[in-house]
């Protein structure tokens, strides 16, 4: 029973940050109607900024996270407004966000390597305590990760459903033409939404940095997992990403319990295949 509970708790914890990652990608799709294959690289950038602020500048953990996320938010907005928005209209790029974001991703990886070097960087755990009770083991770091992740999820839901700005984002996602007629500056919405989406990836990057370490290529596996969450939850659906993220975390956790660590990724991606077969639009996606 404790093994089951331990797996479940571990699964929910990892699920929470999978959800945060997935939302960023799904919002990019839903609002800007584009795939961002550099999503994982913004996760990486967030981790590096956190490292810079906490290790090099010596700021405490919380301000470092805030600065890291803010930094990525600004970089994201700049890239969207400066490069992506212009490039998508040009014939030369073939209107392909895939190519443009691929280029941005490579650029970010190389820039990271130049600035911070290819060595792995580490940051200390926010808290070294390990709790043990009733046969369950829980590291304080993991709980903090889950707490921040869930808080972020709630904040995003509130932003989208309750704020005027969140409405504007939904409207732009559903009908850009109409949104413009309502007085919504959709170019600005695109810019800010992209910034927000990659900032979410940065949140995950900051809180996971102590556990997984930092290197310029760490975005790769994160990109894949984000896609899985996005597709299973339904492209464009925030609620779907949350459910799918937690589902992925739990499935991964239990599958490693019973099948061993080697099968972890196989089972996760099988989930995608099953979803494509049974319900291609994802859990909360719309049928087209």
């Amino acid at each position: 029973m404790t093994v089951f509970l331990q797996s479940l708790i571990n699964g929910i914890i990892s699920g929470s940050y999978y959800a945060v990652l997935g939302i960023g990608l799904t919002v990019t799709w839903g609002v800007l109607k584009m795939i961002n294959v550099a999503h994982g690289d913004f996760y990486m950038l967030g981790a590096y900024l956190f490292y810079t602020f906490s290790r090099i500048a010596g700021l405490p953990v919380v301000p470092s996270i805030i600065m890291g996320v803010l930094g990525v938010f600004l970089v994201g907005m700049l890239l969207q407004r400066g490069i992506i928005a212009h490039a998508l209209g040009r014939e030369a790029f073939g209107n392909s966000p895939f190519i443009i974001t691929l280029a941005i991703g490579i650029m970010l990886e190389n820039i990271a390597q130049i600035i911070w070097g290819e060595n792995n960087r580490g940051v200390p755990y926010f808290n070294e305590t390990v709790f043990e009770f009733g046969g369950l083991t829980m590291a304080a770091q993991r709980l903090i990760v889950a707490a921040i992740a869930f808080a972020t999820l709630i904040a995003v839901m509130i932003l989208i459903k309750k704020t005027r700005f969140g409405w504007a984002i939904s409207a732009t996602a559903q009908d850009r033409f109409s949104a413009t007629l309502m007085g919504i500056n959709t170019n600005r919405i695109y810019m800010v939404t992209f910034g927000l989406a990659v900032a979410l990836a940065a949140v995950a990057g900051c809180i996971l940095a102590p556990i997984y370490g930092i290197n310029p290529w760490m975005g790769g596996s994160v990109q894949l997992k984000s896609f899985v969450v996005c597709i299973v939850g339904g492209l464009g659906s925030v609620g779907g990403s949350i459910v799918a993220g937690i589902l992925l975390g739990i499935v991964e956790s239990f599958s490693t319990q019973f099948f061993g660590s080697g099968w972890q990724n196989v089972i996760a991606y099988s989930l995608v295949l099953v979803m494509f077969w049974v319900r291609p639009e994802g859990i909360f996606g719309k049928k087209h």
Partner: protein, 425 residues
């Protein structure tokens, strides 16, 4: 129009950045001097990882190689076939990818026309692939750090193809021997308690990881130990939660781990601690000696048993001297990778000197000389049957150490001991 112009500028900036970055990443991709012809230089080719998960090690090996070459050149060079020649090195990056390694080596042999090739400086998996080129090309070749027994086996099975091929890395069997001998001795002494004789093993999912673990397992199985948990993680991964959960659930008495990625090592130790396993007996192969690991792990690696302890700057005068040499050369702190790169290159160049020729047969004869070569790494002699470095007392020692208050103390073999083992709680 203005928008088009801006987009164009952005594109060029991006492209410029990408190409510039590409060059920076493989910064040591060409140490070739322009304008030298093939005749008045001895050309050495090196293919190894300077980017990716093994980047740290690969870069350090190359530093060691270059230091040895610079030393020889400063002393005037080497006389071969009546002419004194300087030595020049060409480095290519593999990113730990076998395909890249193969194309690097082909280029080094056919286009750069090297006189000697280190077909792989670090990753066993790539070395196993690139050694196949000995079938196609008959030039002096060697693998530098790769340790996988598969390489030695291939050489032994086909000495005709591999007659000019050498493996500087000792055989993974050496790790198995060191680990099991160390542990069995400690158990006999009473300082280590493994009541159920059960072990958990885990490593990189690479030839290096697998072959080392295999030899540990086979040596300990002979002594009656059983494996209750065996896991391999993706090379470079730091997400080890599932592995550790498995180890925890297995209830093993002791862990044996192996990785060449310091970040993985750090994650392993930290995540073991997260799961309340920090006092579990643990012996680790390779990563505890990487400075990046030492730097990041702080006091969490206390009492960790580890091998190979090849650099002992606290108790070995020669190691201390070598450390100063490296520090003076480019400011690096000494690592085994520096030592290996330097020592192996020295042997290759000494052999050319001894042979007084670039002829492959003469060079091979010199390499196989029974008196061997003295290097910082140890006394290098090759086993004739498989052209692999012999390990043990008087040759290249594979020592085991324990980390105590941040310092490595050798606890095995008896003859090299510099400290007493402190029991795990």
């Amino acid at each position: 129009m203005k928008k088009k112009f801006i987009a164009l500028i952005m594109t060029f900036c991006m492209i410029g950045c990408l190409t510039g970055c590409g060059k920076a990443a493989g910064s040591e991709s060409s140490a070739k001097e322009q304008g030298t012809t093939g005749e008045d230089v001895i050309r050495i080719g090196v293919s190894g990882p300077t980017t990716g998960s093994s980047a740290e090690a690969g870069v350090h090996v190359n530093t060691g190689i270059q230091m040895a070459v610079d030393e020889v050149n400063t002393a005037g060079g080497i006389e071969v076939d009546g002419v004194t020649k300087k030595v020049e090195v060409i480095y290519y990056d593999t990113g730990s990818n076998a395909q890249t390694g193969l194309s690097n080596c082909e280029k080094l042999i056919t286009s750069d026309k090297v006189d000697f090739l280190f077909c792989e400086s670090f990753n066993s998996a790539v070395g196993i692939a690139t050694m196949e080129l000995a079938r196609k090309y008959d030039i002096p070749m060697a693998t530098l750090e790769p340790v996988s027994s598969a390489i030695s086996d291939k050489i032994a099975e086909d000495l005709d193809t591999y007659k000019h091929f050498f493996k500087f890395g000792w055989d993974s069997g050496a790790y198995g021997e060191t680990c099991s001998e160390t542990v069995l001795e400690l158990v006999e002494e009473g300082s280590l308690s493994l009541p159920n004789k059960t072990i958990a093993v885990c490593a990189d999912e690479t030839d290096y990881g697998r072959s080392n673990i295999e030899s540990v397992v086979s040596h300990l199985s002979e002594a009656g130990y059983t494996v209750v948990s065996e896991n391999y993680w993706e090379f470079g991964s730091t997400d080890l939660y599932s592995v550790i959960t498995d180890i925890k659930n297995s209830g093993a008495d002791m862990i044996f781990s192996c990785s060449t990625t310091p970040a993985t090592g750090v994650a392993l130790i930290k995540q073991l601690k997260e799961n309340g396993l920090s006092t579990m007996p643990h012996m680790a192969i390779y990563f505890p000696f990487q400075p990046e690991f030492v730097e990041q792990i702080g006091s969490d690696a206390e009492k960790l048993l580890c091998t190979p302890m090849s650099v002992d700057t606290d108790n070995s005068e020669s190691d201390k001297a070598f450390a100063e040499q490296i520090k003076a050369y480019n400011g690096d702190d000494i690592t085994f990778d520096h030592m290996d790169g330097y020592s192996c290159t020295k042997v290759v160049l000494e052999s050319f000197k001894k042979a007084a020729s670039l002829d492959a047969d003469k060079w091979t004869q010199a390499m196989l000389s029974e008196e061997g070569y003295d290097t910082p790494k140890g006394h290098i002699v090759f086993e004739a049957s498989n052209h692999t470095t012999i390990t043990g007392d008087g040759y290249v020692p594979v020592k085991a150490a324990q980390i105590q208050s941040g310092v490595n103390y050798c606890v095995w073999p008896e003859s090299s001991k510099t400290g007493e083992f402190i029991p795990f709680e």
